[in-house]
Every structure is written in structure tokens, then in C-alpha cells.
């Protein structure tokens, strides 16, 4: 994670150009080429020639409209609104004049990835500086036009103001010839506005993308229509890897009106193996043809793998303490184990989970003048653009991915694998092709969240002093499957690991002896492409850590909150670092203390009801969002069915840039956590997931919506991410509440009524 972010953080060492272009004013980060060239050429010239390389840039028209261009995927987080508000606040813009535009993958926009809850975190400082630079230039030009000194001017509501004189941004743009370059050092001089002087950040506002999403005009990838295009549907082979098409019999498809034949795909990128796509002049006909076409395969080796096989391998690996890569190695856990008087061992499991984005994956592809144009919604264009290029035999700069709204991301669209069969089919037939996966196709091709098995061991000395904890986590690794170059070395330098699949195990509790092993489940890795799914690793490491902390507390007859607080002393590496994790574990202790008060922890509840607590620290130690969740549940002791009455969430994400967006993200992530805790989960059967549609896959619906009480710690610290962290503590809080309600300790996700029933002590 560290490498990924450091490589790709928004331009911190770039100069910034501001210049009149046409009738408007354009502002953009310069490419990281030598500054001299920029200086000699002049900002306006470079901007006019578009020889700049901004990740985000913005322009002010002569009418005063401010267009902020966003290279981030919009998938429900209103990311454009959050980023535009940072710029607009620093500019002193009237929010009513601000518009956003999501751009395509022209290399000049820089590296494109939207995930990890990073967008606001990464863009906060550079966008603040860009806005501040813009304000400086507008003031300089405005002051000249007003005949006043720049230092006497401020900006507000899209005007440069000096005492009782003012001039609108529009008039400044119209009348001033502006040509100005800020060096990286000059740019770094700008500090974000003080909290007290902010006009937009942390204030309520309406998201700019919502009206279009309410009146049917928002355009998603699946809505793309290309001139002369053919519709296609894939035939998903029986295994994810290694199947080879032997024979195709489409005799039954031939009578379907509009059927246009099939293609056997040859994929030099090896993303799709053993694939056939069926073509028709309507998607309906393509679906019908896909239902009746018969494909014979040489079937890949994982054709008979079951969920239990994968879990068994995980359990064996997690139990064997010599396996895996060391991610945390503090003290000497082996010595602690040897000297321990008492110990506790628990094994936690999570089952396969589908992304099930509402919009099934799809892509429309057209080859024009030697360029492959891919139209779809995607979160990580820069990852799969080279794969598309390889598949179709073009250089990277001859592939452009055009961005649309995403009908759900949740990590599914970090993988762009669905572009490949569309591109290959379009290339093969020589026509534009729109390939749409049916829901069943989408489920079978999903990069599911891997099943996981985690073994936890705790050790105590003769005085009941906790000596330490050992944690082994086995799962399929998305980063190994799709972006192996981002895998860092373990602390023992004996191998690499997927940071996203183990984050959260390196928690903020202070332990004298602590070892974490990240273990790759090789059978999972072979059977499917493991995917990043909302919250990724913390979605399962949090399940084990927070359930186990609860077990330890109860084992020692300690209050689960008191026990946690005793380990959150913010000492050593848990002290935190300015600016991002300033305060360290102290901030976690604060949310825990506050939520105890807020939920009247310790209150007497009716029989079979209970409260449970869990905490989380976001996606990674480099970007902690401090959180706690208290679940109030009721268990039916005759059926084991769990009803969640209420979820209380308290989060400290530093400055809340877009408060309503933050609340929405947290509502969404907590409900996703609830859905994972009680309602979702599938299983591999014969090498594929067994649930492919809503007849058996049953995500949370409104009838199981609990009361939600969500709040944010009010402070002005560095803003961290919010797209995922709300999810992490929900499942363990529910499990811990179930224990408090009926004494049943459940260790498998999802929590099934049968498991609860079996765990209720007789």
C-alpha cells in the first residue's frame, strides 16, 4: 500500500501553471519535466498546447463558470464534489458557479486509481495549494484592474474584494492577460486555509452528481451506444483459469432472430482463458443465444474445487506457524508462548463474498484510426490499460479508456478484466462491440473476496498478564493476482505479501509480543482471481482481531471496553505521526471512551438482547480513520436468528471535507458491514461460486435496516478516508453483541442462524 501510494500520490513536486487560454483562464499542474522549459515557454503557451500533465485541473470561463476536471471514478462517493470544494474554498469561489467533469485516460491526467478511500486524503493538500495559487493570481490581476494593492484584497463568492470595491472573477478573466507559473517550492509555500476561514470545506452542501442520478440522465458504462455496434455476451468457461475451447455448437442459436455468430477469443494477456462471446444485433438475442450455445472445453484443473477445500488449505496453513510472510514481529512470541502459563486459541473464518455491483460489468469498445477506445466505468484505469493494450497488440498510448459513472465500485471495478473480452471481440469482428455480462455471468466472473482463515493465539503468564498475540491470516491475494509489483517485502525479508490482505492485523493495540503472518492460500489463488472488496483485508482481519479481543476480555472477566483501553496507550509505534496519524492510539481511545458514554454501555437490556463493541483504524496505518461501533442485537434462542436493532458508529477522520457525503459513505459502509455480517456469503462448488443471482444471494434489503446513529469526532486534523472504514467494526460488534445476548461465540462470517443456535450454551 505504501509503495502504491507513494508512487502515485498527487503531484507534490510539480510546478503549477495559470494562464489565459482562449477567453478563459486555465490552471493546471505542469508535468514533472524540467522547470526551465516551462518558464521559457510561458504558462499560457503550455496550457494552450495542453502540454501539461495534471491529475486534476480546472478552468474559469469568461462567464465565471469554474470547471473542475476530475480524474477519479465516481461510484457513489461524490468524489468530484469533495475535490471541487477543496479547490473552490481556496479560490473563494461561489459554489453555484462550480461544475465537475470526469475525464478519460489521456496519459496527461497522470496515474488513475480510485480506491483505498484515498481520494480526499491524497488530493487535500495539492488541491488546496492549487486553489490558493489560483486565488493569488486572481487577486493580482483583480487588484490591478481595481487600482488597489494585492495585499488589501481577498476573494469571496467569486469576486476579488478590496474594501468596498470588488470585481468578479468573470471580469478578471475577461480583462486580464494572465501568465504565471508557480514552482513546486512556491506552491508548497501555500498552506491550506485555517479551519475558521473556510467557506465550503466542512460545510453542508448538495453533491453535484445527484440531480443527474435522480432524473435518469446520468450515463453509466452500460448506457454507452456506439455507431454501428454489435451486442455481445460472454460464455463463461467452467474454470477461471486453464480452460480451452474444443468445440462450439451454435445450431440452436441460429434460429434466434438477430444472432450474428460467435467468437472464440485468443487473449495474449491471458486474462480470459477458454472464452467464447456470442454476438447479436440486440442484447436480448445475445442473451438467448448464450443460453443455448453449447461449448465443449478441455477443463482447467480447478474444476472440482469446493469452498471447503479452500478453507481446509487455509486452516492447515494458518495452523503451521512456519508458513507465511512476517508482517509484524515485535518481541519474541515463540518465547512468550513457551513461557506462558495459560493460552487461548481461536480460528476465525470468512466465506467467499460477491461484489454484486448493481450494474453488471460491461464495456463497449471501438477501434478508430488505430486507437482502441474502451468505454466503461472503472476504478483503476492505469492498471488495466496496459493489459488491454497487450491483449489487442497495441502500445499503451493507443488505448484510451473513456470514463462513465460506475453503477457501484466496491472494489470490483479496480479490476478492469471485463474490458478484455470486449476489446478482443471488437477487434475480431472489426466492428464496435458492447459486451454486457448478465447477472449470472457477472457473478461467475467476479473477483470475489477470498475465503479467509485466521488463527489467533494469546498467551498469559502465571500472574494473568497478557504476554502477547500471534495472528496468522490465510487468504487469496488480489494484489498478487493483479498488481504483484505493489507487494512489499515482509519484515523478515523472506518474501513478499499483499499489504491489502493483511492490513488491520498491524493494529494500534500495544502488545509486548506480537507476530502477524500473512499467508497466501494457493488453492484460492489458483481457483479464482481474488478481488479487492470494500475494506479489503480489514474486512476479515478486523473480524478476527476484534472478536478475539472480546474473547480475551471475557476469558479474563474484564469489561471489553476497559480491556481495549488498557492496550491503547499510544506508546512506541502507536504514538502516531504528524500530520496524518497525529495522536495515534489516543484518538482510538477517545472514540472508544465517547461511544461508551453515548450508548450507555453496561445498561440492562431485556433477555436475549445485548450490546457489542468493536473498533477499527481504517484501511492502513499510514491513513488511519479511527472508529468504533456498538451493535444492539436480539437473538431468537429457538432459531438462532439475529435481529440488529441499532448500530452506533463514531468515527474520527480528521477534517470532514463534505459532511453529508461523509455521512452517506458511512451509512453505506456500515450497512455493507451488516450485509456481510448476516446476509451475504457464497461458496465455491465445482470451481465456481454457487450463488449467481438474487434467488439465492441475499444482500441486505430495507426490511432489515436497523436504526443507525452515526457521528464524527469534530476536529481539524488531516482528513483521512471514509469510503470503507465504517464497515470494519460492524461484524465483530454484532458477534460480540450476540455473545453478550445469549453467550454464543460465533467465529464464522457470515453469521448463520444455525451457527448461533449451535453455539448457545445449553
Amino acid at each position: 500500500m505504501t509503495r502504491l501510494r507513494k508512487n502515485n500520490i498527487e503531484p507534490s513536486r510539480r510546478s503549477f501553471l495559470i494562464g489565459s487560454v482562449g477567453s478563459g483562464l486555465l490552471m493546471a499542474f505542469a508535468p514533472s519535466i524540467n522547470a526551465l522549459e516551462v518558464m521559457t515557454g510561458g504558462a499560457s503557451k503550455h496550457l494552450a498546447e495542453k502540454s501539461f500533465s495534471p491529475t486534476v485541473w480546472f478552468e474559469i470561463s469568461s462567464e465565471g463558470q469554474i470547471m473542475v476536471n476530475i480524474a477519479r471514478a465516481e461510484m457513489g462517493q461524490h468524489v468530484g464534489t469533495a475535490i471541487a470544494r477543496i479547490v473552490a474554498d481556496e479560490l473563494g469561489a461561489d459554489w453555484n458557479n462550480v461544475e465537475i467533469k470526469h475525464v478519460d485516460t489521456d496519459p496527461k491526467w497522470g496515474y488513475m486509481v480510485t480506491g483505498g478511500s484515498w481520494s480526499v486524503f491524497q488530493t487535500y493538500v495539492p488541491m488546496s495549494q492549487a486553489g490558493a495559487a489560483g486565488r493569488t493570481v486572481l487577486i493580482e490581476a483583480g487588484a490591478k484592474l481595481l487600482g488597489v494593492k494585492p495585499q488589501d484584497c481577498t476573494t469571496q463568492n467569486s469576486e476579488v474584494v478590496a474594501g468596498d470595491k470588488s470585481i468578479s472573477f468573470a471580469d478578471v478573466v475577461k480583462n486580464g492577460k494572465i501568465d504565471r507559473t508557480f514552482s513546486a517550492d512556491e506552491l508548497a509555500e501555500f498552506k491550506p486555509k485555517s479551519p475558521a476561514s473556510r467557506q465550503l470545506i466542512a460545510k453542508s452542501s448538495q453533491a453535484l452528481d445527484i440531480p443527474a442520478k435522480t432524473n435518469g440522465t446520468a450515463q453509466y458504462g452500460i448506457d454507452v451506444e456506439l455507431e454501428g455496434m454489435v451486442y455481445a455476451r460472454p460464455v463463461i468457461p467452467p474454470t477461471r483459469h486453464g480452460s480451452v475451447v474444443k468445440r462450439v455448437d451454435d445450431s440452436k442459436a441460429k434460429s434466434i432472430k438477430g444472432y450474428q455468430g460467435y467468437q472464440i477469443l485468443k487473449d495474449p494477456s491471458d486474462t480470459v482463458q477458454g472464452w467464447v462471446t456470442v454476438l447479436a444485433d440486440s442484447y436480448y438475442a445475445a442473451v438467448k443465444a448464450g443460453n443455448v450455445i453449447k461449448v465443449e472445453y478441455d477443463i482447467g484443473e480447478t474444476a472440482n474445487v469446493t469452498e471447503q477445500d479452500i478453507i481446509n488449505q487455509g486452516a492447515t496453513l494458518a495452523k503451521d506457524k512456519t508458513t507465511g510472510t512476517l508482517v509484524v514481529e515485535k518481541g519474541d512470541i515463540a518465547k512468550a508462548a513457551k513461557s506462558a502459563k495459560t493460552s487461548l486459541e481461536s480460528v476465525y473464518k470468512t466465506s467467499s463474498v460477491l461484489h454484486f455491483t448493481m450494474e453488471p460489468v460491461n464495456a463497449a469498445v471501438e477501434f478508430k484510426d488505430g486507437v482502441c477506445h474502451v468505454h466503461c466505468g472503472n476504478q483503476w484505469q492505469s492498471l488495466f490499460l496496459p493489459v488491454v493494450a497487450k491483449a489487442v497488440g497495441l502500445s499503451d498510448d493507443n488505448v484510451i479508456i473513456h470514463q462513465y459513472y460506475l453503477g457501484g465500485g466496491f472494489g470490483r471495478r479496480l479490476a478492469g478484466d471485463y474490458m478484455i473480452p470486449a476489446a478482443l471481440t471488437a477487434q475480431a469482428v472489426g466492428k464496435p462491440v458492447k459486451l454486457v455480462f448478465t447477472r449470472e455471468d457477472d457473478a461467475l466472473f467476479d473477483c470475489v473476496r477470498s475465503p479467509s482463515v485466521q488463527q489467533m493465539n494469546a498467551y498469559w503468564d502465571a500472574d494473568d498478564k497478557l504476554l502477547g498475540i500471534e495472528h496468522g491470516a490465510a487468504a487469496g491475494w488480489p494484489t498478487l493476482a493483479m498488481a504483484p509489483s505493489f507487494m512489499p517485502e515482509g519484515v523478515d525479508k523472506k518474501g513478499k505479501f499483499d499489504p491489502f490482505s493483511i492490513a488491520g492485523a498491524d493494529h494500534w493495540y500495544t502488545l509486548a509480543n506480537h507476530r502477524v503472518r500473512a499467508i497466501n492460500n494457493t488453492l484460492a489463488q489458483k481457483t479464482f482471481v481474488p478481488g479487492w472488496l470494500r475494506a479489503v483485508g480489514p474486512g476479515w482481519t478486523g473480524w478476527a482481531v476484534e472478536s478475539f479481543m472480546d474473547e480475551i476480555a471475557h476469558n479474563q472477566s474484564l469489561d471489553p471496553i476497559d480491556f481495549r483501553l488498557s492496550l491503547l496507550d499510544a506508546s512506541g509505534k502507536n504514538a502516531g505521526e504528524a500530520p496524518v496519524s497525529v495522536g495515534g492510539a489516543k484518538r482510538l481511545a477517545k472514540v472508544l471512551t465517547d461511544i461508551r458514554q453515548q450508548t450507555n454501555w453496561g445498561q440492562t437490556l431485556p433477555k436475549n438482547q445485548g450490546l457489542g463493541i468493536a473498533i477499527s483504524s481504517g484501511q492502513e496505518r499510514d491513513m488511519p480513520t479511527w472508529g468504533a461501533c456498538v451493535a444492539h442485537v436480539e437473538v431468537d434462542p429457538t432459531t438462532g436468528k439475529v435481529k440488529v436493532h441499532k448500530l452506533t458508529g463514531l468515527l474520527d477522520c480528521g477534517t470532514v471535507v463534505h459532511p453529508d457525503g461523509a455521512l452517506a459513505q458511512t451509512q453505506g459502509s456500515m450497512l455493507w458491514g451488516l450485509s456481510l455480517a448476516l446476509f451475504e456469503g457464497t461458496a465455491f462448488e465445482k470451481g465456481q461460486v454457487k450463488d449467481t443471482n438474487l434467488n439465492t444471494y441475499s444482500p441486505l434489503r430495507m426490511n432489515n435496516l436497523p436504526e443507525l446513529d452515526i457521528s464524527f469526532v469534530q476536529n481539524t486534523e488531516f482528513p483521512t478516508g471514509l469510503g470503507e472504514p465504517g464497515l470494519i467494526a460492524v461484524a465483530p460488534a454484532i458477534a460480540n453483541a450476540i455473545f453478550n445476548a445469549v453467550g454464543a461465540r460465533v467465529r464464522d462470517l457470515p453469521i448463520r442462524p444455525e451457527a448461533v443456535l449451535a453455539a448457545i450454551p445449553s
Binding site: K288, E440, N693, L694, N695, T696, S698, R701, M702, N703
Partner: protein, 221 residues
């Protein structure tokens, strides 16, 4: 439900012109003259057919009833003859044990879902072609609540089907005729891809009813 009952009735009449006798609940039992005429004509036919059947003894009657019960208690029938919870059920090889619809659907007191979401929102006039797609028939609805069969014993259903207060005011000949004629009832034997049809056929089931009726329609103890 805070919806007014006149609205329900109005909605039912406006929305479903084909909403006929079988569908009518206790508070809306008016039949049109033409339907009555058609009914009585056809009843005559089926009586003649019954008379041609050999006299049956009580053992045959019990066997006939058992077959009727097999049909009535089959998920294709019983899943929509549900108790006053008004919740349609579904079941099948992929669904685990029989349960309520996964989307929290209620037929409401109207039994066609008018209070919240109409059955016809998802159920068209014919079966969907897609695996697990919604089945359909010209009028899709729950049976009136008094015709409750789901998880009921043979004796309970037997007593209900004979009781005009709970069978839509029908004679057993009417019941047999209804089985022969009603399109939604017929759906039970052609339920679409991936669903097990009810046993026997509509005609056989109607014949079993008549056989059983002609022997005095005994109910199991």
C-alpha cells in the same frame, strides 16, 4: 395498513378487469350474471360426466382425496394459499427450504399486493424464460385467506374445501370446474423452467375431486 378498504376494492376493480369469482374475498362477493350463467351451464356438463363414473366405495374416495391433497399441498399450489400473514412463499431445488420471498413481499389483505407492491409488478402474464425468472399467468395473486393450505394437514384442507364459507361459495362441482378452467390454477402444472409441476394434471385432479365428492367427500380423521 392505513389504506382504506374502498380504495382497495376500487383498485382491484380498476386494475384487474379479469378479476373473477375465485379471487373474490368475503367483502366483495358479487358475481356478474354472465359468469353465473356460464358457471351453471358448465356445472351441468361436469355432473353428467360424474354420473358416468362407476360408483365408488369409501376406500376409493380416500385414495382420491389423498391425490387431491398431494396436489393442494404441493408447493406450486400451497405457496400461494398462504395464511393471514399474506406472505407468498417460494421453494425449489435452489432455494433451500420453503420460505417467504427474499424481497420481503406481501400480498396484503387485498392479496394482490395493492397496499404496497402489486404482484403484477414482477409477475407478467406468462412465465419468464430466464432461470429463476418470475413465473406468470394472466392474473397473478394469492388465494383468498380463508383458502389457506400452506403447511395444513389433509384433514384441515379437506374441511376447508368443503365449506362454502371458506371455498368461495362453491359446491364441490364448482371446485372441480374451477380446477379445470382457471388459468392461474393451471399454472401449477406448467410452472416454467426449473420448477417442479404439481402432480397429475388439472383434469385428473378435477376428476379426483368428483370421484371423492360422489362418495360423499369423506375427510380424513
Amino acid at each position: 395498513m392505513q389504506i382504506k378498504s374502498f380504495m382497495l376494492r376500487a383498485a382491484v376493480l380498476i386494475l384487474l378487469p379479469g378479476f373473477y369469482a375465485f379471487a373474490q374475498t368475503a367483502d366483495s362477493l358479487e358475481r356478474t350474471d354472465s359468469l353465473e350463467l356460464k358457471d351453471s351451464l358448465e356445472r351441468k356438463d361436469s355432473l353428467e360426466r360424474t354420473n358416468s363414473l362407476e360408483a365408488v366405495n369409501s376406500q376409493n374416495a380416500t385414495q382420491a382425496w389423498n391425490k387431491v391433497y398431494e396436489v393442494f399441498s404441493h408447493p406450486r399450489c400451497a405457496n400461494c394459499h398462504v395464511p393471514k400473514d399474506n406472505l407468498p412463499r417460494w421453494s425449489g431445488p435452489h432455494y433451500g427450504k420453503t420460505s417467504v420471498h427474499g424481497m420481503n413481499i406481501s400480498g396484503g389483505q387485498s392479496r394482490i399486493g395493492v397496499e404496497t407492491i402489486m404482484c403484477s409488478t414482477c409477475h407478467a402474464q406468462s412465465n419468464s424464460d430466464e432461470p429463476h425468472g418470475p413465473p406468470g399467468a394472466p392474473v397473478w395473486m394469492l388465494a383468498p385467506v380463508e383458502m389457506f393450505w400452506w403447511q395444513q394437514s389433509s384433514k384441515q384442507i379437506c374441511e376447508q374445501i368443503k365449506d362454502p364459507a371458506r371455498n368461495g361459495g362453491r359446491t364441490l362441482e364448482d371446485v372441480a370446474h374451477h380446477i379445470e378452467e382457471d388459468e392461474l390454477v393451471h399454472w401449477g402444472w406448467s410452472p416454467g423452467k426449473g420448477r417442479e409441476p404439481a402432480p397429475y394434471s388439472a383434469q385428473e385432479t378435477a376428476d379426483f375431486v368428483m370421484l371423492w365428492a360422489s362418495a360423499g367427500a369423506p375427510c380424513p380423521e
